[in-house]
């Protein structure tokens, strides 16, 4: 049984219809990678699933429950997490305060425990607990955002271009953490990635969007080997 199933999804913002009839599934413990040219609706797909973009029609099924109309904070409570591309940490707060904020709704004792646990997985944060988040580098901020997400121990994590604007080494570190999330913690992941090669190499399944429609849906490896990928990706697909 798939953890998440999206059926005939039409979504957008107000009158801006962006996504047309999307159908796909995400199995437990898999990484689904969403790629596509600019403006093809990758981020909107995540926002529609999380309830930030407007869903016109279609269904989103999570754990066999229809969650299409659930508000974002309710989705957070049943195990979904969404990491926006930017502004995903509080720059003016210290690292420790950021981590505690992430567990705002949890009982204090549990927060202590989870923070400890997360710090073990992200050891570099230990030395920076008292530093403001704005003093971190771009890659470190993404990792902090990831750590904050884990405090609530979600099952499905959606990343929006976590490597955008990062130096290759930092990007690699972020990607390694994502693989670790799947392999070690058994999380299910949807990853929107601008760096298609990098994304497709780690993804199990891949979804290629062009102008808000699915141009390819299948094994990531298959898409990676597709000779026309370049043309598809540049939006020249017919």
């Amino acid at each position: 049984m798939a953890l998440l199933e999206v059926k005939a999804l039409n979504a957008g913002y107000g009158r801006f219809h962006i996504l047309f009839d999307l159908d796909f599934k995400v199995e437990k413990q898999e990484i689904l990678i969403i790629v596509g040219p600019n403006g093809s609706g990758k981020s909107t797909t995540l926002k529609a699933i999380f309830g930030i973009a407007k869903v016109y029609s279609g269904n989103i099924i999570y754990n066999e429950k229809d969650i299409t109309r659930l508000p974002p904070h309710a989705k957070a409570r049943i195990g979904l997490a969404y990491l926006p591309q930017t502004d995903n940490v509080f720059a003016e707060l210290t690292v420790e305060e950021n981590l505690r904020m992430a567990g705002y709704t949890l009982p204090p004792a549990l927060v202590e425990e989870r923070v400890e646990k997360v710090l073990e997985s992200f050891p570099f944060l230990k030395s920076k607990l008292k530093d403001k988040a704005k003093s971190l580098s771009g890659g470190q901020r993404q990792l902090l955002a990831m750590a904050m997400t884990l405090i609530r121990e979600p099952d499905l994590i959606m990343f929006d271009e976590p490597t955008a604007g990062l130096a290759p080494i930092a990007a690699k570190e972020v990607v390694e953490k994502i693989i670790w999330l799947r392999d070690e913690l058994g999380k299910t992941i949807i990853l929107v990635e601008q760096n298609a090669k990098l994304g497709l190499e780690i993804g199990d399944n891949a979804l290629l969007l062009v102008s808000g429609r699915i141009a390819f849906y299948g094994k990531a490896q298959e898409l990676l080997e597709n000779k026309d990928l370049g043309r598809l990706y540049l939006g020249l697909a017919k």
Binding site: G14, R15, F16, H17, P37, N38, G39, E161, A164, G165, P168, E193, Q194, N195, A196, K197, L198, G199, S211, L229, G230, Y233, L234, G235, L236, A237, K238
Partner: protein, 254 residues
């Protein structure tokens, strides 16, 4: 290249630690349609803003028709013949579709606190402006909405209004268009590009167009530039640029 209409030389624009433009050089050929492509965050819109004067570059020059316009305000650049539109339409929310279009024609003698009340002075110019606006929105198929405010339009219609506006000014040297056909249906998108081509041929106006719908745009453009990470990675004939390994790599990631 001989005699470019617009030159961008070594432009750097930083936002904090991010170098959104990292030494960009462009030469836009006169009387041609040039396409500018690049993945998200490659700096295209920032470049448009630097060229039109909305942003001041940290380094580098912008030269229009042999004249350095780097320090000029947006309205001064417009008066030198540089017109642009916006990727996300910036429409005047209090003006109707027709008024939004009419405003885009500069030089109305009635735009003064004294001359405004002297109808004789401006009625001729104004009438011609309104007629032209009507023709323009007829072409972009939003004529039936002439009396509507922007808030009553759909996303695609806003984009069409943005296009109508940018084609209104009298004698521009160059028009910069940021995604003119985003959210517009394919048939109309082709018509817009046909119109742009027609204007280029009839009036000799140069266009610099940012567009993601390459399948539509590629048939109309004469030249192309590709950007990635705030730099130009390729330029030349459109087909050549689209198949350039560096361009494909920039879209797919290293």
């Amino acid at each position: 290249m001989s005699d470019p209409i617009l030159e961008v030389r070594g432009v750097v624009k930083k936002f904090g630690a991010l170098r959104a433009l990292d030494g960009v050089d462009l030469e836009i050929p006169r009387g041609k349609i040039t396409l500018l492509i690049g993945p998200n965050g490659s700096g295209k819109t920032t470049l448009m803003n630097v060229i039109s004067g909305v942003y001041t570059p940290d380094e580098g020059r912008v030269i229009l028709d042999g004249e350095d316009i780097t320090g000029l305000m947006p309205h001064e650049r417009f008066r030198k013949g540089l017109v642009r539109n916006f990727q996300i339409p910036r429409l005047f929310s209090g003006l109707t579709v027709l008024e939004n279009t009419a405003f885009a024609r500069y030089g109305n003698p009635g735009e003064g606190v004294v001359s405004g009340v002297l109808k004789k002075k401006w009625i001729g110019f104004e009438e011609e402006t309104i007629r032209r606006s009507v023709r323009m929105i007829t072409f972009t198929k939003i004529r039936h909405l002439w009396d509507k405010k922007p808030s009553e339009l759909s996303g695609g219609q806003m984009k069409l209004l943005e296009v109508s506006r940018s084609l209104m000014p009298d004698n521009p040297k160059i028009i910069l268009m940021d995604e003119p056909t985003a959210g517009v249906n394919p048939t109309l998108a082709h018509e817009i590009f046909q119109r742009i081509k027609q204007i280029k041929e009839e009036r000799g106006i140069t266009f610099l167009i940012v567009e993601h719908r390459l399948d539509i745009a590629v048939g109309y453009v004469d030249y192309a530039y590709a950007m990635a990470f705030g730099k130009v990675v390729a330029h030349g004939e459109p087909e050549e640029v689209l198949t350039h390994p560096k361009v494909i790599e920039s879209y797919l990631g290293g």
